[in-house]
């Protein structure tokens, strides 16, 4: 799984490279765009995701100790927190941006100065958070499978590798968000 996560670093890395480049060239447009995002929701969502990492880690620990009910509890909590994150991101933030006319290619209504560079910022916003959300959805699927397997008693202190490995994946997706949050929401400087 660590090797697979290395490939994921490179996958997101390509996007981050492009982002770093354009951010450097169009700083004012990117800052404007960043300020248009809702920091409170972003921060809250970050907390939700960090919480889910905690519950995931505790779930792995429960598996190591052979505590089946605790494991299932933590896996379900992780899943619920993950789904909350996706729901807030897609249902609240994306919907809001779409309705406000900040969805490039789909519904873009801003025509002020630098609007094309602003559009570029929102491109990256949607691509980055979109691909991140896709990884979370996949993670949610994996968690569901784990919950079912745990329910059937498939894990024990000697056999809990799938839980550990899925945990690594989940934490990685969290780490991507740890970098996305400041790079998307906080670069504008809100002073």
């Amino acid at each position: 799984m660590w090797v697979f996560l290395a490939t994921e670093v490179m996958f997101f890395g390509g996007l981050f490279t492009a982002y770093i480049l354009y951010r450097n060239f169009y700083l004012s447009a990117f800052e404007t765009g960043s300020r248009l995002l809702n920091v409170k929701i972003g921060a809250a969502n970050t907390a939700v995701l960090l919480c889910s990492s905690l519950t995931m880690a505790l779930g792995v620990r429960a598996a190591q100790l052979g505590k089946k009910k605790l494991l299932i509890t933590f896996l379900v909590l992780t899943l619920l927190l993950g789904l909350t994150f996706i729901g807030v991101k897609l249902g609240l933030e994306w919907r809001h941006d779409y309705l406000e006319g900040f969805a490039p290619g789909v519904h873009w209504t801003f025509h002020g100065t630098d609007s094309r560079h602003l559009e570029l910022f929102f491109c990256f916003y949607f691509f980055l958070t979109g691909i991140h959300a896709l990884h979370m959805v996949i993670g949610a699927g994996i968690l569901t499978v784990l919950i079912i397997m745990a329910g059937r008693g498939r894990f024990s202190p000697q056999r809990y590798n799938p839980v550990e490995v899925s945990g690594l994946y989940w934490h990685f997706v969290d780490i991507v968000w740890i970098f996305l949050y400041p790079l998307l929401y906080l670069i504008g400087g809100r002073y």
Partner: protein
Amino acid sequence: MGTAVVEPGIESRVHYLNASYGIKSWLLTTDHKRIALLYLASITFFFFVGGSAAVLMRLNLISPQGALLEPATYNKLFSMHGIIMVFLFMIPSIPAVLGNFLVPLMIGARDLAFPRLNLLSWYVFVVGGCFTLYAVIAGGVDTGWTFYTPLSTTYSNTNVISAALGVFIAGFSSILTGLNFVVTIHKMRAPGLTWFRLPLFLWAIYATSIIQILGTPVLAITLTLVALERVFHVGVFDPAVGGDPILFQHLFWFYSHPAVYIMILPSMGVVSELVTAFSKKRIFGYKFIAFSSVAIAAISFLVWGHHMFVSGQSVYAGIVFSALSFAVAIPSAIKVFNWTATLYKGSVSYQAPMLYALGFIGLFTMGGLTGLFLATLAVDAHVHGTYFVVAHFHYIMVGGAVMGYMGGLHFWWPKITGRMYPDGWARLAAAIIFIGFNLTFFPQYMLGYLGMPRRYAVYAPEFQVLNVMSSAGASILGVGYLIPLVYMVWSMRYGPVAGPNPWGAKGLEWQTPSPPPTENFEETPKVTEEAYAYGTEETQVA
């Protein structure tokens, strides 16, 4: 087991080919050897599809006005030739076929670390291939295998997205195979098999796997961006919006340059095996070759800008990339010197695999040296985008990698099938391929130097003689590739039965019967000698 005979017939013995019958036993197998054969069938198919595109292209180029094809069609043909040959033939070829078959055998293991993931890899490859074939059938793609923006994102009205999707999916197959090999080689070596006793083929596969793991994801995200830009008409690579088309080239070539090393490194590994086996001699400079494989893998990631010297990249970056590109030639040269030194005073025999290996050394050297011409900024300004580049990479990929693949296929054929192919025909085919290849591609060096651009359906009349030579060579080359197809298939049923070690070679894979049983070894072997320990004990020839 069968009755006791001096040479047990393969019909009376249970091995991986006859352990179970029926299509399900093949399509749901987790045996790395069967999966290798599944890959063999798929990539051979794609080789001939890509080859047909090349045939049509060369037929068109017989006349300066391009009498056969419309330019738009020609564009689609060279694109499909590139996409299919690179992503569906060359990248998988040696790793997926020979690697899958040999990695567990060479380390004394029963299978790879993740056998089911291996099967998944094959299915993912097939799905990716299907999407690409769909793109062909639905009218093709005309962006070239390089998908440069803004043609691919904005202006092309061909099936860019399905082709990109096909490549994206096939890339996952590459990543998963690489992952499997890295874990297997780290964790599953037989007792006594230290890193520096590994056959050099495995060092090459290991280095290749590193490249596959670290590079392919960047291609994936790049193609995703192209697709997203095409669908949503946003401007990540569009200068009118502030995007940078060169950024696409950076991201694309970050993978695609290491990709060409994915294509050549395993072949170099094969050549190391062939050169020792057919000179009956220890390899010269084992550690140099092993480390040079890893060095090539590492440095390969630092040189991608040499594809962009004239694209608008900064001159200073160009200087850096040029210098680094010179550096990457050094480990390759080290290998060539070491192989040559291995041949010196060896007891050389000239069966077909050795002919391919010798062909590789000569043609790869030529291709590699012309690579240095291209790495030189000033020279590249003149020959970029001409047939010089085309000749260079075909010398490396066809004269190099494919010949290594053919040599390896012949060398391990008795192990894979338990039968020997007819060596007379094989040598004839090797000679035809060598002659056809040189006739096809050597004129292209001259054409490029004289200024004929690549990817053009028509050309200036003064280039016609060389073009006709090249097309004639292509027809010979095509015949050369068809001959092995015939006799290899023939040999599977009618070839003489081969014993465990028909070549008298060193290596764990030769210590088990041909074809191997499903579990590879009756009991886990123990390794006590260095690799290629020729001349230290009697090696059984059976």
